[in-house]
Symmetry: C2
Subunit: 607 residues, 2 copies
C-alpha cells in the first residue's frame, strides 16, 4: 500500500492518526536541523516535517524538487497555520520515508507562472501537465464531459460509437487517409465528423444519439486549429428546429451550472444570420456588450432594401459619397479621447489586417456639443443626427468607417471588439449565449463557379424554400450575377450557438427525402454517378423510411476553452499538436520503415 | 411538434387523452372497413385503429411496411388486451394521419428471426439496426459504457483524451499509418492503444485515468477481430497489483449489477498462469464448470518437477509410454456412452484442427465396474487408479489424450470445452470471473531468435525477478535452449481478467525506472538509437519523477458480447467491418483522387 490518504485530504480532525502519503516534492525548506517539505499530488499539498532524527538518512538520500516520495508519520496540528490551502491546519511528523523515484531538474518551473516557453513546454508536455494552471483546464474539460453526458443520458440520448476508418468523400475540407494493406490501392478516410452515420442511426430508429468523439480535418492550421479535435455530436428524430434549440440550450445551461455554478436563467437570445451581419458585422457576435453597428449607408445591392438612412450623411464629403457602405459605432464614454488617442485608432484601422483608409469620428461631448473630424462637411445638426442614429449619448465617441461592403463590415466588427477589449467590456466571468438562425443554405464559390453548401450538403432548406430549390436550375452563366439567382435567397434550417463571440456549436434540420438530397447534390455540382459513389448508402437509406431529424455538434475543445476563460484551445487538450500539425513531444509524424511501405504497396512521390 | 408521446409510453391511465405519435409501420391488419397498425419507435409498439371514416384517405395514401407515420388521436382502452407489451392495454383511435416518409420493401424482414443473410444485413446495416435483436445489443453496449463511467467517476478516475495521430512504433502488431500532407514523406500512426500516453499522464500526476477509446491494429482478421476496436483503458498511480485487482473486480461487479441486475457477491477466483495451463490447458479457462485436466504424465522438461503421477500409466501401452504428455478429463455422467458416441469423440479429436492421433477412454460405470478402450494394457485396479486421479465418480467417462506437449494440452482444453458445450455446462446466463496472474514476462520467438514481451514492453517483472533481468545477458546462442535461460523463468506483474472462458481485460504493473525500461528494450533487441527514436519521450519522462503505476484495459466489444450472451463482437458494434476489413455498406476502403495522391506526395506501388 503506497498511501493511506492523498495529499489533499487530511484535516485537523485527523490529528494523531498514523498515515502514509505518496507524492512529489514541491518545495523544501531547511531550518537548522529540521526540514519542511511540501508534498504534492493531484489532490493537493501537505506539509511534511522531517525532524532531527531523520537527518542522517536525509543526508544519505538527499531529496530534490519533483522527487517521488513515500512517507509514514503522524498527523500533527501546525503551529503556524496556512489558511490558503485546505490541509493548512496540519503537517505530518515524518517517522519513515522512502524515495520511490528520483528526478533530474525540470527544464522549467512547475508553477502557475512558469519560466518555460511554448516549444519547451510542448516538448515536455508531461511536465507542463503537472502545473496547476494546466491541470485545472484538464479537470474542467472532464467536468464538461461528465456534465454533458449526464444531461444527455437523462434526456434519453444514447452514446453510440461510429467508425473511424470510413470512406473518403472530400467535400469541404481535406480528408486524412489511411492506406489499406488488406485492400491494396485503396484507402480509408478518418471522419471529419460522424455526420452520415448519425443520420443513418436516425433512419435506424435510434432517435436520440450522441458521442463525444474525435474528428479529423487535414487543413492548414490557423493559430487555434488542431488536425484532430473533439465534438459533442448529437442527433434527434421527429424534431423541428425549436425542439433542438430548446434541448441544447438546456445542455449548455446544465454545463454552466455543473461546471461554473452559474444559474443561466435568462432567455437565450436569438438573431437571424442577416440581422447579425448588419448589426454586428459578423455571424458570431459577442453580445456581452452593445456598441451595435449603425449602417449609415447600405450597399446598393441590398435586397430587400433597408430603411434608407443615407440621407443623414448626404453632403459634400466625398469619402462617404463614394463609399459602398458607411458604418458607425457609438463607443460609450470616450468623447474625451485626445487627438493622440483618435490618431491611434485611425492607425489601428489602417493596419493591413483591417485595411481601411481612415476613420471618421464625432465626439458627442458631455456638455452636449459636437466635435468631429469632418466638421467642415457637416453642420452640428447633421452631426447630432448621425450620432443619434448611432445611438450615442452625451459623452460617447462615434467612430465611422466607410468603404467596400465586405471589408468595411468586417473592419467595423473588428473595431467593435477592439474597443470592447480596450474598455474591459469582454469579461471572462460573464457568459452570454446567442442563437444565430436562418443561415443561407448556399454560398457561391465564384472561382469554381458553383454553389457550395454553407453548413453541409445534408442541411435542409426552410420548408417554404424547398420549392425554390426544386423548381430552379442551379446553373449560373455569369458568376458575378450569383446574387440575382433565386438560390442566393434560400435560407436553411440551420443554427449556430454563439458564446461570448465564439461559435461553440452548430447544426441543422436535415434533408430526409431522397429526391431533395439528390437535388442538393446536383446543386453542388455532383452528377448522379458521383452521388452514388460517394453517398449511395445514404440516398438508399432515405428510401426505407427515414424520419424527419436534425442535430447539432459542439466544438468541445473551444467550449472548454471559453468556459475556462481562455481563447486558446491548445491549453485545454492534454497532448496538442503545434501549427505544423506536429507532436513535438513524440516527434510525430515521422518516417516509417521500408517494410511498412512494402506491405502497404505505396511509395513516396516527393516533389 | 412531431409527437406528444413515444410509442412505448401510453398506459390505461392515459385513456381519453388526445395524443400525437410518430413512428414506423411495423404491421398492418385490415378487418373489413377498419385497419389496425402497430406503430414502432425506439421505445416500443402502440396499436393504432383507423376506423371507417379514414378509409377514403387510406385508399388515397395507402400505408406500407416501414412507412414513417404521424398520427393524432385519442387513447382508448382495448377490448382485447395484449399482455406481452407494456402498451398492450390501449390503442389510439386515429383522427388524423400524415405520411412523413414512404418506404420501399426492405430486402429482409425487420424481425428478430430475419430472413436476411450476413452480407445483405451488413450492406443494409441501417435496416439491420432496426431489428430488436440488434437494438438490444446496442442498448446493452450503452448501458455498459454508462455503468463503467459512473463507477470510474465515483472512484476519482478522470476521462482524459489522448491523441489519435501519433508516432509509428510497431512492436507487436502492425500500425495503421496516415500520410502527413504538411510534413511530406512523414506519417502518423493510429494508436494500437493509448499505453504510453496513459503512462505519461501518471508521470504528470493525474493519478487515475480512464478512457473508452478506439484502438487500431492492422492485422489479418480472424473471425472475431475488427481493425478498429474499443477499450476501456485505465491507469492508476501509487498502486500495487492488489489495488488494481480489487478496483477492477469492483468495476466488473458494478457492470453486472447495473446491466444484468446480478449481485456478484462471491470472491473472484484467482489462478496463476502456470496453474491455468496445467489445469485447463489454456490461459483463459472457463470455470463455470469443473472437468479439470489431470496431467497423468508431465513433459520431461517441466521445471520445477511436478508430482510424478506417471507411474499410474506405467505399463505396456506404447502410446502412453512414447507420449511426451498424457492428459485425462473426467466427463460427468457419460459412462453410458455407446460405442458410436465414443467413436464420434475419437473422430472429433482426430480432426485437423485438433490434430490428435486418437482418444483413450475409461468408463467408470454406475455399478462401480470399469470398461476401457485400453483394457488389454491395464488391470481394473490400474483403470480405477487412473480414474480416481482424474477425479471421476461412478457414472463418469474418463477421456485421455496423449502426444506432444503443446498440441495435447490444447487438444485437452478444446475437448473440455466441447464436452461442456455438449452437456450444456456453458450457460449464457451464468457468469464466472477469474483472475489469471503471474504471466511470464517474456516469450521466445524461435524464428527470430529473440525475446518478445508477452504482454508489452512496459510491463514490470515481479520485484524478486528484477535482479534476474538486470544481471543476465538476454542473448541466447542456441534458440532451442531458450527454456534454460533465466529469462524464461521471469514472471511479470501482469494479470488477465477472464469471464466465461474469454479474456475480457488485461494489464500490468508498469516499469517506472529508466534503467529497467532500457534493459527491457535491450532484452527485446532494441539498440540505444532505436530506443531513443521510438520511445525517447518515455525514457525521458521517467527521469523527472515517475511514480509507481499500473493499469488495465478491457476489451469493450468482447465484454459487451459476453454480457449479451454472444461470442461474436460484430453483433455489438453499430457499424462493423467484415473479415477483409471492409465496410460493405459504405463500400470502404476505396480509391482516392489523383489530387489526394498529389497533395500527400505518395503514389501506389502495387505488386
Amino acid at each position: 500500500m503506497y498511501r493511506s490518504h492523498t495529499c489533499g485530504e487530511l484535516r485537523l480532525a485527523d490529528a494523531n492518526k498514523e498515515v502514509t502519503l505518496s507524492g512529489w516534492v514541491q518545495t523544501m525548506r531547511k531550518f537548522g536541523s529540521i526540514t519542511f517539505v511540501d508534498l504534492r499530488d493531484r489532490y493537493g499539498l501537505t506539509q511534511l516535517l522531517f525532524s532531527e532524527s531523520l537527518n542522517t538518512q536525509l543526508d544519505a538520500s538527499p531529496l530534490g524538487r519533483e522527487f517521488v516520495l513515500q512517507v509514514k508519520g503522524k498527523v500533527n496540528e501546525r503551529s503556524s497555520k496556512n489558511a490558503n490551502i485546505p490541509t493548512g491546519d496540519i503537517e505530518i511528523l515524518v517517522s519513515e520515508f522512502a524515495i520511490l523515484n528520483k528526478a533530474v531538474t525540470p527544464p522549467f518551473t512547475i508553477q502557475d507562472e512558469t519560466d518555460g516557453g511554448d516549444e519547451l513546454r510542448m516538448k515536455y508536455r508531461f511536465l507542463d501537465l503537472r502545473r496547476n494552471a494546466v491541470k485545472k483546464n484538464i479537470e474542467l474539460r472532464y467536468a464538461v464531459n461528465r456534465s454533458a453526458r449526464n444531461f444527455l443520458h437523462e434526456n434519453n440520448f444514447m452514446d453510440i460509437e461510429t467508425p473511424f476508418l470510413i470512406k473518403s468523400t472530400p467535400e469541404g475540407a481535406r480528408d486524412f487517409v489511411v492506406p489499406s494493406r488488406m485492400n491494396p490501392g485503396q484507402f480509408y478516410a478518418l471522419p471529419q465528423s460522424p455526420q452520415t452515420f448519425k443520420q443513418l442511426l436516425m433512419v435506424s430508429g435510434y432517435d436520440r444519439y450522441y458521442q463525444i468523439v474525435k474528428c479529423f480535418r487535414d487543413e492548414d492550421l490557423r493559430a487555434d486549429r488542431q488536425p484532430e479535435f473533439t465534438q459533442i455530436d448529437c442527433e434527434m428524430s421527429f424534431v423541428e428546429q425549436e425542439d433542438i434549440l430548446s434541448m441544447f440550450e438546456g445542455l449548455v445551461k446544465r454545463i454552466f451550472k455543473d461546471v461554473k455554478n452559474i444559474d443561466y436563467t435568462e432567455k437565450v437570445e436569438r438573431t437571424t444570420w442577416e440581422e447579425a451581419m448588419w448589426t454586428y458585422g459578423n455571424d458570431k457576435p459577442d453580445i456581452r456588450f452593445e456598441m451595435k453597428l449603425c449602417n449609415l449607408k447600405f450597399p446598393a445591392h441590398t435586397f430587400p432594401v433597408k430603411d434608407n438612412i443615407s440621407s443623414l450623411i448626404a453632403g459634400e464629403f466625398a469619402v462617404f459619397n463614394d463609399a459602398e457602405t458607411v458604418i458607425a459605432i457609438a463607443v460609450p464614454g470616450c468623447s474625451d479621447y485626445s487627438r493622440k488617442q483618435t490618431d491611434e485608432l485611425t492607425e489601428w484601422v489602417k493596419r493591413p489586417q483591417i485595411g481601411m483608409k481612415g476613420l471618421v469620428f464625432i465626439k458627442y461631448n458631455a456638455d452636449g456639443t459636437y466635435k468631429s473630424s469632418v466638421d467642415k462637411f457637416y453642420t452640428e445638426d447633421k452631426l447630432k443626427a448621425i450620432a443619434d442614429a448611432a445611438g450615442a449619448k452625451a459623452g460617447d465617441l462615434v467612430l465611422i468607417l466607410a468603404g467596400a461592403e465586405e471589408r468595411t463590415r468586417k473592419a467595423a466588427s473588428d473595431l467593435r471588439m477592439y474597443m470592447a477589449d480596450k474598455l474591459g467590456m469582454r469579461k471572462a466571468d460573464e457568459f452570454k449565449l446567442l442563437w444565430v438562425l436562418d443561415f443561407p443554405l448556399f454560398e457561391y464559390a465564384e472561382e469554381d463557379n458553383r454553389w457550395v453548401a454553407r453548413h453541409h450538403p445534408f442541411t435542409s432548406p426552410k420548408p417554404d424554400h424547398i420549392p425554390v430549390m426544386i423548381n430552379n436550375n442551379p446553373k449560373i452563366d455569369n458568376a458575378a450575377d450569383y446574387l440575382k439567382h433565386p438560390y442566393a435567397g434560400i435560407k436553411a434550417n440551420a443554427y449556430d450557438m454563439v458564446l461570448n463571440g465564439n461559435e461553440i456549436g452548430g447544426g441543422s434540420i436535415r434533408i430526409f427525402q431522397r429526391e431533395l438530397q439528390e437535388k442538393m447534390f446536383e446543386a453542388l455540382g455532383m452528377d448522379t454517378a458521383e452521388q452514388l459513389h460517394k453517398f449511395g448508402f445514404l440516398l438508399g437509406a432515405f428510401e426505407y423510411g427515414a424520419p424527419p431529424h436534425g442535430g447539432l455538434a459542439f466544438g468541445f475543445d473551444r467550449l472548454c476553452a471559453i468556459l475556462g476563460g481562455s481563447e486558446s484551445i491548445r491549453d485545454f487538450i492534454a497532448f496538442p499538436k503545434n501549427n505544423s500539425g506536429r507532436d513535438v513531444m513524440l516527434d510525430a509524424p515521422s518516417t516509417i520503415d521500408a517494410k511498412q511501405f512494402d506491405e502497404l504497396q505505396i511509395k513516396l512521390d516527393l516533389k
